[in-house]
Symmetry: C2
């Protein structure tokens, strides 16, 4: 069975990494059994040599890190199982969605929930998290997160391309979810797992898409690995 190092909070059942969610959804889409081992930010010595961040998977004797590299590895290693990308061009186009999610979504969500993340992570991670994120974001976590009720509108506006494409297709992957859907879903899951702050408005087409995908067996399989 594939083993995954999966970022966890103080509560080991709280799994919130946007990148680990992408990987869990990819594994579930492929119908691969996996074990998701809780891992904390400061447990670098528990990762295989050469890896400093999660996700990292062990598939028999293969070790692969980075959510995008893992998705490509799974597609190549398990071609007989449901495709994540459809074809090579589909994979290349999904790389654009991946870059968009990292540059626009992650950058947009982080300042809305960063203090909430600090609130749910393990005690031993807190000093590292506060120091590294305050340096990156240029201020106290609590200050960065302040005024989010007004700032959330610009995050929501930044989802315009996604909202637009969902007018003419049910999923980013077309009639059924592809890895592109998991990229976006996994990124939203990050915010949902650490915070009660509503990233999406209930009347948003993106909200409806998320609910549609959340009700599918692939999400249940990703959420409750063995």
């Amino acid at each position: 069975m594939i083993r995954l190092h999966d970022l966890a909070g103080a509560d080991p059942a709280l799994r919130f990494s946007p990148y680990c969610w992408r990987t869990k959804l990819a594994l579930a889409h492929k119908g691969l059994d996996f074990e998701a081992l809780p891992w904390r930010f400061t447990e670098r010595d528990r990762l295989p040599e050469g890896h400093r961040t999660v996700p990292v998977i062990h598939d028999a004797d293969r070790i692969v890190g980075d959510s995008w590299a893992i998705a490509c590895y799974l597609e190549e290693s398990y071609p007989e199982r449901p495709s994540l990308f459809g074809c090579e061009t589909g994979r290349a186009h999904a790389a654009f969605v991946n870059a968009w999610a990292d540059r626009v979504m992650v950058a947009g969500i982080a300042p809305l929930v960063v203090a909430d993340i600090w609130g749910v992570i393990h005690d031993k991670d807190r000093a590292y998290f506060r120091e590294s994120r305050e340096k990156r974001m240029g201020g106290l976590l609590e200050d960065v997160q302040a005024d989010r009720d007004s700032r959330v509108e610009s995050f929501r506006a930044s989802l315009a391309p996604l909202r637009h494409v969902l007018k003419t297709q049910d999923f980013v992957g077309g009639e059924a979810p592809s890895y592109a859907d998991y990229i976006v879903f996994g990124t939203l899951e990050w915010g949902r797992r650490v915070s009660e702050f509503p990233l999406l408005a209930a009347e948003d087409a993106v909200f409806a898409w998320r609910e549609r995908l959340a009700a599918m067996p692939v999400v249940a399989a990703a959420s409750a690995p063995r």
Copy 2:
């Protein structure tokens, strides 16, 4: 031969619609001969019934409008020719790139070149263009375009997802251009054809990608139809 209604400036050789460029590149990618008839904004009566904007193509007795619909039509009607999307999932993912180009790129470029567009269009189009665009953009065209030297930076920053994906692949379509590349290239061509204002910095990876694609036969074929 396919006929295309193609937006032209005062000089009929000046073709600048971002959407018509997408279509011409798609036609060239498919290796289809086409004639690109100059069309001006106010020549609505020269378009087939039910169409108010270009591109519109006539392919024997079929009439199709809207660049995205035309790309899908060409892919379906000419499956034996080089694919624009690779597969259905590739097409669905390209729809995201299309939405991103429309919502982010077109919206970003318009205020940088809108007065320059007015300067190159046909006299008979100028009153219509000024009135409709000033209403849409909330000010005099010349005021909207002012200060573009400072504002161009935020447009360039908005290309971050594209810049990022080009770090690991030569084209948005992967090893070779797909319709996703033509979407982005065609959108940039709009600005290039109407203005000398540099939308891209010469040291940008997006600039290098554009040069790479511009040197390919597909662009020559799209630029000089019969």
